[in-house]
Structure formats: structure tokens, C-alpha cells
């Protein structure tokens, strides 16, 4: 089950919409989708579901064009909308039952299991549910038929940190089953541990796609080292390491070295009086910041 976007464009006029998106999500892959509000995440997901007709280009799910085959492709998709609004039914239970009927799900054990794991009380009145409860109900509705593809539009909004972890666990289990996931968020930290790739979308265009493997296992690492004495600080500067940040007022240096040269660094350091040593984590945020800065500079130069 794969998703393929080819030159996908939906122009709402005055610069809003999505433009020339190219993205391929392979079966079993989890792709994150980050971007500021209004950057086009939801429009992309709606196009994949076939709810909106692209101005040009195509969205394909499993080789089927989304707009024309919407009703067929959605069979395999579990969708958590970004804006949760339920049908005019009394309680969460009624909604989930109705949803099960729509999905022709007879066996409610999966549903009950999800309810238990998310600690949801579905007997509550749908109208009086809190944001978090609505979100949980929507998640249960999307996951209970065990579809092959998940389109999750900011699925963790409103969830408390504990529930967010349970939810991420559930997604992880689905990943292990080989399901394809496209999850949008504006929080890097929740995509990081989950995704194989993360696409950054800005003003309707995919700016960059980060490969999480590379971010998780970076080729270079950075360490922040603080020395007791000024003399040691000055001596270390002469050792020949690549220094990316120099803070003489604290006797601090930040060095970048190849991952394989870590031992060399530590061996050298045994001769120095080190007050503090800490690895500066390389993460998605940093990745995009550095990458976009470089790109931005390039653009400026051009």
C-alpha cells in the first residue's frame, strides 16, 4: 500500500494551496509531515483521500487515482481529521457503533482494546467531550478497522503527554505490522522517534525531506566541553579539532568530530581537567534549521 503524489497542485488563489508536490510513500513506511499552520498539510491529506480535486497533478493510493476512486481507496485508509467534528449522535459509544457499521466491522475487540489503552470513556456525550476525549474517540474510529494506511492529521493535539505516549505506542505497533503511515504535526519531537522520513512543507511546497536514519545516526557529533582552567582551554584549542562554537568567558568549546573518532577525543581529554562534557544532540529541528539556513543563504546569494 503506497501513496504517490505527482506534481500535486491545488491552487486556492492568492498563493494559498499546495503547489507541485512530489512525494512517494512506500508500503510500510512512516512519513512525517511538518509545517506551520496553513502550510498545506491538511490540503495534501484531503487530496490523498480524494475529497478535493487537484488543480493539476495526481495523488495516487496503491496505483489508484484518488479523486476518481475515492470511495475505493478510503477503504484501506484510517483517517484522523485535523478538525474533529462528530455526526449528530448522542454518545461516543453510539458514534463508534455507527462507525463500525459503516466500516462493516463486526468484531469490536480491537475497538475495545483501543478504548482501554487510550483510557477513553466512550459513554460520554459527544457534544460535551473535551478536546482530548474527542481526539481519542477519533483515533479509535480510525484504528478500529485495522486499515493498511493511516492518514493522521495532527493526531496528538489535545492529548496529555501520557496519552500521547500510548498513542505513539499504538502507531508503532501498526508500523511493525507493515502499515503505511502519513502523520502531520507541527511538533518535531513526536515525529522524530516514529518516522522513517519527515517532509517539511512551507507555503504549499515541500521544502525538504529528512531521512531520519541519518539524523538518528549522524556522521558527525558535537560535544560541548568546559574546562577548569583558562590555560587548559587555550591548550585544547590547539589540538586540531573542528571547533564550531567558542565561548571563552565560560572556558567552553563545542567541537564537531566524525562519529568514528570519538575515542580519539576522549583519549585526548584525559589529560585535561574537564568540568563538563555534554553531547549536543543532533535532531530534526537542528537538521532543518541548518539545512534551511544553508539553502536560504544559497537563495540569497543567487
Amino acid at each position: 500500500m503506497s501513496i504517490k503524489l505527482t506534481n500535486l497542485t491545488k491552487d486556492y488563489g492568492s498563493g494559498r494551496g499546495i503547489f507541485d508536490l512530489d512525494l512517494e510513500i512506500n508500503e510500510g513506511e512512516t512519513v512525517g509531515f511538518v509545517g506551520t499552520n496553513g502550510s498545506g498539510k491538511t490540503t495534501t491529506i484531503r487530496s490523498i483521500l480524494g475529497f478535493i480535486k487537484p488543480t493539476s497533478g495526481t495523488a495516487e493510493v496503491n496505483g489508484l487515482e484518488s479523486w476518481r476512486h475515492s470511495s475505493e481507496i478510503v477503504k484501506n485508509i484510517g483517517y484522523v481529521p485535523g478538525e474533529i467534528a462528530f455526526p449528530d449522535l448522542s454518545t461516543g459509544t453510539a458514534f463508534l457503533k455507527s462507525q463500525a457499521e459503516f466500516l462493516s466491522v463486526k468484531d469490536m475487540t480491537r475497538c475495545d482494546e483501543l478504548i482501554k489503552r487510550l483510557q477513553l470513556d466512550p459513554r460520554a456525550n459527544l457534544k460535551r467531550m473535551s478536546k482530548g476525549m474527542k481526539q481519542k474517540t477519533a483515533i479509535v474510529a480510525a484504528f478500529m478497522s485495522s486499515p493498511d494506511i493511516y492518514l493522521l492529521d495532527e493526531p496528538t493535539t489535545g492529548l496529555d503527554p501520557l496519552m500521547r505516549d500510548s498513542f505513539l505506542d499504538i502507531v508503532r505497533e501498526e508500523q511493525k505490522k507493515g502499515k503505511t503511515v502519513l502523520m502531520s504535526s507541527h511538533m518535531f519531537e513526536e515525529l522524530e522517534p516514529l518516522c522513517d522520513r519527515v517532509a517539511l512543507i512551507s507555503d504549499g511546497k515541500i521544502v525538504d525531506i529528512a531521512d531520519m536514519k541519518k539524523i538518528r545516526k549522524p556522521e558527525t557529533r558535537e560535544y560541548k566541553i568546559e574546562f577548569f582552567k583558562k590555560t587548559e582551554y587555550q591548550n585544547f584549542k590547539k589540538e586540531g579539532f573542528l571547533i564550531v562554537r567558542d565561548q571563552p568567558e565560560y572556558n567552553q568549546l563545542t567541537v564537531r568530530i566524525d562519529s568514528k573518532d570519538i575515542n580519539t577525543l576522549f583519549n585526548k581529554l584525559t589529560a585535561y581537567g574537564v568540568r563538563l562534557i555534554a553531547e549536543v544532540k543532533y535532531n530534526l529541528e537542528k537538521y532543518f534549521k541548518t539545512n534551511l539556513n544553508i539553502k536560504g543563504e544559497k537563495d540569497n546569494v543567487q
Binding site: L49, S71, K75, A85, L89
Partner: protein, 498 residues
């Protein structure tokens, strides 16, 4: 094409409103039918009708009274002349009287043939009877006077040559003709004749008797009428020049206008438009007007139209607006399936609602079955069908806007706004429509009847039993079909912000 789950969901979401609105409509309908059928309306209508009929009958009585009096007066004047002539010939009062009676008989026959009646007609009997009962020669007709509890009259011949003989004769004739008229009109046979003539106006014998035309009433009326006639005639004749060559002509003219004046019926004495209007009220079926044009075409449509506006909005546009349609469409339910199921729900719910009103109305009509109500069960069912057709067309309109717009506001504003406009235009149009009696009709407002589709529900045609309402129904049906079809196509093609 049909999604059971979605249908169930729509039922659950809307059944409460359906129940409340249906109950309210049926309750209103029952109130309208039972209360207005309970007599109030019939009373108003009958009141107007009775006034008209009574005044017509009275005009008739007055006319006859004058007629009788004139006949009598002329006959007795002749009789007096005969008597004087015969008495001069024979010198014997007895013989003169007898011969004069004989000549009077000839005079009566001449009058009858002069008026063109055959000798054995009812009219001939009436004229002969009138003249001879009045004269009552030698108490020959005392039994007539006894039958009406009057002392038998005797025409006094002793004062035949006195100067004030004419006054005596007139007074005698007035009294006699009044007695004869009253006695005549109170006889069973004549009452039956009268009722038969009045049958067309819905007057039964009971009703006629309830008008209270008793012997004494008629006698009094006849007396005063002939007195009025006589006095006014005298006054009018005084003003004429007796020597002018066309004197006779003028006299008959005066007489004619006097008779018209005195006997003029209620309707004849009113300005023509008012008279027509009153006749209309009399002939209009107010119950049909209230049940058909006022309830089924207006008041009774209000709540179902509100239901249609709200539900058709919540079935499509509301769900797209809020985003809950995502849960339907992300479950492999096709868009066509959604529109078809929701349209089916909408139409079925309206049908069920109108079925309930049909039942209610039929039960109510069975309860109020009064003779004044001409509404039949068939007409009543057609009324319900008409209201259903209107609702079907309006539901098509609202459903179409619901399918076209993603925002409830817009769908409601356009679909609902138009629907309410149609209803309000119908209300305004009613005041200008020909179903209202012309006195209270504002014909300028009739314009509104041409801008509302509810006019295609032709209650007049249904009541009158013509078939014009059928093709109008067909137009409504086509409108509904087109609207639903446009809605289907638009919804299939549009972007959904889900």
C-alpha cells in the same frame, strides 16, 4: 446506492425534531378542523345567508301584499259601482247585491285572463279566492276566517254612497288582503311550495320555520306595507297634474317605483359590489377556505418547511461544514450513496409527516361531519397530497443548496430564505387571491401569487373538482426532480473541506 448505516445515523440525528414538528402540525390541524368545523364558521356563514334569504322572503311578502291590496281595492271599487248601478236599476238591495256579485265574478275572470292566466291555474284560483274571500258575500266564506281565527268580515253596503266610502273600502281591503295573504302563506301547502323554491339556497323546511313567519307576523307586515304604499301613493299622486295628457302613464310609473321601493330586497337595496360580496360569502365554503387555503397552503406548511430547511441542511451542508462528513466518506461510502441516502431520508420523513397529517385530517373530518361541510375525504386527501408536493419541491430546493454550499450559513440563507419567501408571498397573496370574498380582498396583493411556487398547489381546483391541479402538481414534481438531480451532480463534483 443506499447506505443503511448513514440512513440509521440520519434517523437518530433527526427523529426528535421530526416527532416534535409532526406532533405540532397534527395538533394544529386537529384544532383548526375541529374548532372551525364545530359550528362557529357555519354560524357566521349562515348568519349572512339567513339575512339575505329572510330579506328576500320579506320583500316577496311585501310585494304580494301590495299586489293583493291593489287587486282587492280595484275589485271592490268595481263591486261598489256594480252595486250602485244595479240598485239604480232594480231598487232592490238584495237583487242588486246578487247581480253585482255575479258581475264581480266576470270582472275577476277578466282580470285573470287579462293577466294571461288560464281559468284553472293556481293563480286564477288565488285571484278569485282573494276577491271573494274579501267580499265574503253573505258570510259564504266564514269558515276561512274561522280557520285563521279571525272574526269573519262583512263588507258593509249601507254606506256605499257616502262621501268617505273610499276610505272605508281601502281600510277594509287592507285588512282583508292581509288576512288572506297571511292565511295563504301559512297553509302547509304554500309553505312547502316556498321551501321548494328556496331549496337552492340551502333552506330546509326546519330552517324556514325557524325564520318565524307566523300568521300574525305576515298579517302585520302586509298591513303596514299596504298602508305605507297607500299613503305614499297618495302623496306622490298629489304632486301630479291630473289634467296632463300622460297622467295615467305617470301614475303607473309612480306605482312601479313605489312597489320597487317598498318591496326592494336586502340585496337590491345595497350597492352592487357589497350585494355581490355578501352573496359570495353566502355561497363560499368557509370551511374549505380555512382547511385548504389557510391551513394546508399556509399555516400548516410553516413548521414542515422549517423542518425541511433545518434537516436538509444538517443532512449535507451541516456535516460538510462541521467536518463530520469525513467519517462517512472515509468509510468507502460513495458520494452518490451519501446524497441518495440523505435525499431518501428527507423525502421519506416528509412523506411520513404528511401521512400523519392525512390520518389526523381524515379522523377530524369524520368527527366534524356536519351538514354545512362540503369537504369530501377525497378532496382532503388531495389537500394533503398537495402540501406534500409543495414540501417535496421545497425540500429539493433546500437539498440542492445544501449540496452546493460547504457552509451551512450559505445553504440556509439561500435555500431557507427562498423557501420562507415563498411562504410569506403565499400569505400576502392570499389577501389578494380570489378565494377571499371581494370585500376583504386586496387585489394588489394578488401579485405575490405569481412569485411563489406554493401557488402551484391549487386548492381552488381541488375544491371545485377540476383537474387543473394535476398539471400544477406535475410542475412541482419536475422542480423537485431537477433540484435533487442538480444537488446530486454538484455534490459529486465539488471539493470537500474535510
Amino acid at each position: 446506492m443506499f447506505s443503511k448505516a448513514l440512513f440509521k445515523q440520519s434517523v437518530k440525528a433527526n427523529y426528535l425534531m421530526w416527532c416534535i414538528i409532526t406532533f405540532a402540525v397534527c395538533f394544529m390541524l386537529a384544532c383548526v378542523m375541529l374548532i372551525s368545523g364545530g359550528g362557529d364558521i357555519a354560524d357566521v356563514k349562515n348568519g349572512v345567508e339567513d339575512t339575505i334569504i329572510k330579506s328576500e322572503i320579506e320583500a316577496n311578502i311585501k310585494g304580494r301584499a301590495i299586489n293583493y291590496y291593489e287587486l282587492d281595492e280595484a275589485a271592490l271599487t268595481e263591486f261598489d259601482n256594480y252595486f250602485i248601478e244595479e240598485y239604480a236599476k232594480s231598487g232592490n238591495a238584495e237583487t242588486a247585491y246578487a247581480t253585482a256579485v255575479g258581475r264581480l265574478k266576470q270582472y275577476a275572470d277578466a282580470v285573470i285572463s287579462g293577466k294571461g292566466y288560464s281559468a284553472d291555474s293556481d293563480e286564477a284560483m288565488e285571484i278569485t279566492g282573494l276577491i271573494f274571500y274579501t267580499l265574503n258575500p253573505k258570510g259564504a266564506y266564514n269558515n276561512f276566517y274561522a280557520s285563521v281565527n279571525e272574526t269573519p268580515l262583512t263588507y258593509d253596503m249601507s254606506s256605499v254612497t257616502s262621501a268617505d266610502r273610499a276610505d272605508y273600502r281601502k281600510g277594509y281591503c287592507k285588512n282583508a288582503s292581509a288576512i288572506f295573504l297571511a292565511g295563504n302563506m301559512c297553509s302547509e301547502e304554500n309553505i312547502d311550495k316556498m321551501v321548494k323554491q328556496l331549496e337552492d339556497f340551502g333552506v330546509t323546511k326546519d330552517k324556514y320555520l325557524s325564520f318565524g313567519y307566523s300568521y300574525s307576523f305576515i298579517k302585520h307586515l302586509a298591513n303596514t306595507t299596504s298602508l305605507t304604499y297607500d299613503t305614499r301613493l297618495e302623496y306622490e299622486l298629489d304632486g301630479l297634474d291630473k289634467n296632463s295628457p300622460d297622467y295615467d302613464e305617470k301614475v303607473s310609473e309612480v306605482k312601479l317605483s313605489l312597489v320597487g321601493d317598498i318591496t326592494g330586497g336586502f340585496l337590491a337595496s345595497l350597492p352592487e359590489e357589497v350585494a355581490e360580496a355578501l352573496q359570495e360569502v353566502g355561497s363560499a365554503d368557509l370551511y374549505n377556505l380555512i382547511v385548504g387555503s389557510i391551513f394546508y397552503k399556509m399555516a400548516g406548511l410553516l413548521l414542515p418547511i422549517i423542518y425541511v430547511i433545518m434537516v436538509s441542511n444538517s443532512l449535507i451542508a451541516g456535516q460538510v461544514d462541521s467536518g463530520s462528513m469525513a467519517y462517512v466518506l472515509s468509510t468507502s461510502t460513495k458520494r452518490d450513496e451519501v446524497t441518495f441516502t440523505q435525499a431518501a431520508f428527507l423525502i421519506l420523513s416528509i412523506s411520513a409527516m404528511m401521512l400523519m397529517t392525512t390520518l389526523t385530517s381524515v379522523i377530524c373530518l369524520a368527527i366534524v361531519s356536519s351538514p354545512d361541510i362540503t369537504l369530501t375525504y377525497g378532496q382532503l386527501i388531495l389537500m394533503n397530497l398537495g402540501a406534500f408536493m409543495v414540501l417535496l419541491a421545497i425540500s429539493g430546493l433546500c437539498f440542492m443548496t445544501s449540496c452546493i454550499f460547504n457552509r451551512s450559513k450559505k445553504a440556509m440563507a439561500i435555500g431557507g430564505g427562498l423557501s420562507m419567501f415563498f411562504l410569506v408571498a403565499t400569505m400576502l397573496g392570499l389577501f389578494g387571491s380570489p378565494v377571499l370574498p371581494s370585500v376583504i380582498r386586496l387585489s394588489a396583493l394578488n401579485f405575490f401569487n405569481y412569485v411563489t411556487i406554493i401557488s402551484l398547489f391549487d386548492t381552488i381546483s381541488i375544491i371545485e373538482g377540476t383537474l387543473a391541479f394535476l398539471w400544477k402538481f406535475a410542475i412541482l414534481l419536475v422542480m423537485a426532480g431537477v433540484c435533487y438531480a442538480v444537488g446530486f451532480v454538484k455534490f459529486r463534483k465539488k471539493d470537500l473541506p474535510l
